[in-house]
């Protein structure tokens, strides 16, 4: 333990502990993420070669068309995959720590359903199969509204994780009924756009989207790093955590709010992507077992990696059709989910 690096705030309001081994893993994953981004940047229905890419990126004038494709079509999409995947991975980790259940994720407690219902409602009301600027604020508002409702309904002198999950599942079911109802009354093209959104797609991600989501994800990650030590205490069980001086209720609310902001933001821009919030934290736990600081850093990177590859698959496997990334996330996610349930059953 002597090798652990520790950074502390003045009054010990926060502290960050990290082991060199974890740091090495982080660097390796970051390198892998950059490499994946480069691979994704070089592939698409417009054929581009690596030398062309470097020339275009270094500003060669004669490659206007390629610069447009790289900088305005592919790069924003890749960055959006990293940001949205990262936000969902981190939100999943926070929620799993909060409810002490490995099956928790933003879609289970109703956050995604709230955003989805609001988004589909907005598409229907504005009759926009082509998207609308109102979609992002509506989805964020939907996610927040559901969370407020969730906390209000499950509050009984404090936040009980079990009540939170049960009420969350109930809200999610009710909201998905609302979503289905709206889809039934929508015209075909609007319903088709809504389905794409509900699957989760990074199609036509733009720089303005990146600038909207990046502050949320970076800020959320900073706060998550600062409070990661609380999750280590919560993992000991609520009695022991209370005895050791955790303000459980306040910390649980902070984690919940953080998860909502991250997941709500990601879902607003990238659509109702499922499974990343579930998958990324579990993959992170396979890689390291040394507490939540490392997991907080690694989960978002894994989330980003999953989404970068899922989006690449959706973009290039069926050219000229652009399939939603959510399809491929679910393709990997669903079998993993079943495997997880199977293992849980065998353990108990």
């Amino acid at each position: 333990m002597s090798k652990t690096l520790v950074v502390r705030g003045a009054a010990d309001q926060w502290s960050v502990r990290i082991q060199p081994a974890v740091l090495r893993i982080c660097l390796a994953l970051a390198a892998l993420l950059c490499l994946s981004a480069l691979v994704s940047l070089s592939l698409g229905s417009y054929p581009t070669t690596m030398p062309q890419i470097f020339q275009a990126l270094s500003g060669a004038e004669n490659l206007h068309g390629i610069r447009l494709i790289l900088l305005e079509i592919r790069l924003p999409r890749i960055l959006m995959a990293i940001l949205a995947g990262g936000a969902l991975g981190l939100a999943g980790l926070l929620l799993q720590g909060l409810v002490q259940n490995p099956l928790a994720s933003p879609d289970v407690v109703g956050i995604t359903s709230g955003a989805s219902a609001a988004a589909v409602f907005t598409l229907w009301v504005t009759d926009s199969a082509g998207g609308t600027p109102l979609l992002v604020p509506a989805a964020i508002a939907g996610a927040l509204a559901v969370t407020v409702l969730l906390v209000m309904l499950s509050w009984r002198g404090g936040v009980s994780p079990t009540r939170l999950v049960l009420i969350g599942v109930g809200l999610a079911a009710g909201l998905s009924a609302v979503t289905t109802l709206i889809l039934v009354v929508s015209p075909d093209a609007t319903a088709m756009s809504a389905y794409i959104w509900l699957t989760g797609s990074l199609y036509a991600a733009r720089w303005s989207d990146i600038f909207g989501l990046a502050p949320v994800v970076i800020g959320g990650l900073a706060v998550a790093i600062a409070v990661a030590r609380d999750l280590d205490l919560h993992a000991l069980g609520s009695d022991l955590a209370l005895a050791l001086g955790s303000n459980l209720n306040r910390q649980r609310l902070v984690h919940l709010l953080l998860a909502v902001v991250l997941a709500g933001g990601a879902v607003a821009y990238a659509g109702a992507l499922g499974f990343i919030g579930l998958l990324a934290p579990h993959m992170a736990r396979r890689i390291i077992r040394t507490g939540h600081m490392g997991l907080t850093l690694i989960s978002p990177m894994l989330g980003g990696l999953i989404l970068v590859w899922a989006d690449l698959a959706g973009r290039v496997l069926f050219i000229p059709r652009d399939l939603p990334a959510g399809l491929f996330v679910a393709g990997v996610g669903a079998p993993f989910f079943v495997y997880l349930l199977y293992r849980l059953r065998r353990k108990s």
Binding site: G65, L68, I73, D127, S128, G130, V184, A204, D322
Partner: protein
């Protein structure tokens, strides 16, 4: 895949800029030839030369391009009869396919290096800024507005004469149809018609959309309960059959076993047998592509051909592509 317009949007700053631009142009010396500015649903497009490489991003624009004598360099795939509707195939060999109308292949569009892109607000609003970076893009407000689309594309492609010819031909045909059907039906004209569609798991009544707009222009009426805003309604229970009633029913459905099953089930229902149109033998299946999905001037003319045939009227005017 047609649905009706929204209430008109507010005046955009771009529209204001356009007006200012026009005012300014008045002071410019003549002779800046070759530059055309086209006002469209999302702003103003400036075209420096007469476009030769046109990309069409929805069905109606592809139909209209063919009518104007333009072979697009890229187009999106059709909803049925993939990759493109039969009635357009002869004119569109070797056109690059750009995926689905709702999310076209952006890189594919850029690869074609077009000089004009035709899009629709209620399909491509989110990608319009990207499209406009690739090439000047003109946008129609709603995919079923076939006449404004024809004027817009004729102006943008410098084919104003051809566009005018098509519009005048259409005008002449509608007037001819109206005078003939008035004579034929006498006091029964104008007649009330319902537009229905059957799907695998439900039936629909169309209150708006392409077919309704054409029928309205020809003078047909909608039954009073169908005179509503919105594209129409999806019916999931046979109990709603009485809502379909009219003097005449036009219905279209896809050639799919599941759809045919729905139709057989609904049309065998006692309530269906009670409908005015059914008892009078006035129920007519029509082509879903020309009546609902084509959404261009050619589809409108094919629809009118159907109506001439259906009411056994003489159709004296030449076919649209022979006339223009």
């Amino acid at each position: 895949m047609i649905h009706p317009t929204r209430p008109p949007g507010q005046t955009s700053p771009m529209a204001l800029l356009f007006v200012l631009g026009i005012t300014f142009l008045g002071f410019m010396p003549a002779g800046v030839a070759g530059i055309v500015t086209v006002d469209h649903a999302l702003g103003v497009a400036t075209l420096e030369t007469q476009p030769e490489r046109v990309v069409s991003l929805y069905q109606g624009a592809t139909d209209t391009a063919v009518a104007l004598g333009i072979k697009p360099v890229g187009m999106v795939e059709s909803w049925t009869e993939k990759p493109m509707y039969q009635y357009l195939r002869a004119y569109l060999s070797d056109v690059r396919m750009l995926g689905l109308e709702t999310q076209p292949d952006l890189e594919g569009i850029a690869l074609l290096d077009p000089d004009l892109i035709v899009a629709a607000r209620n399909r491509h609003l989110a990608i319009f800024p990207l499209l406009d970076q690739i090439a000047p893009t003109v946008v129609i407000d709603d995919v079923y507005e076939f006449k404004p689309l024809l004027s817009l594309m004729a102006k943008a492609t410098g084919k104003k004469e051809q566009g005018l010819c098509l519009l005048e031909h259409w005008q002449a045909r509608t007037l001819d149809f109206q005078s003939r059907i008035r004579k034929k039906l006498g006091s029964a004209w104008p007649t009330e018609v319902a537009i229905l569609s059957f799907r695998a798991d439900h039936a629909r009544i169309y209150y708006g959309g392409f077919a309704r707009s054409v029928l309205e222009e020809l003078g047909f009426l909608a039954p009073a309960p169908h005179r509503q805003k919105g594209w129409g309604i999806k019916l999931t229970s046979e109990e709603s059959i009485p809502a379909m009633d009219a003097e005449t029913i036009f219905l279209f459905m896809e050639d799919d076993p599941a759809v045919q099953r729905t139709y057989r089930r609904w049309s065998a229902h006692p309530l269906w047998q009670n409908l005015k149109a059914v008892q009078a033998g006035e129920v007519y299946p029509v082509d879903p592509i020309t009546w609902n999905m084509g959404a261009g001037i050619l589809a409108a003319n094919l629809m009118l051909d159907d109506l001439y045939r259906h009411y056994r009227l003489r159709d004296p005017l030449p076919e649209v592509l022979d006339a223009c």
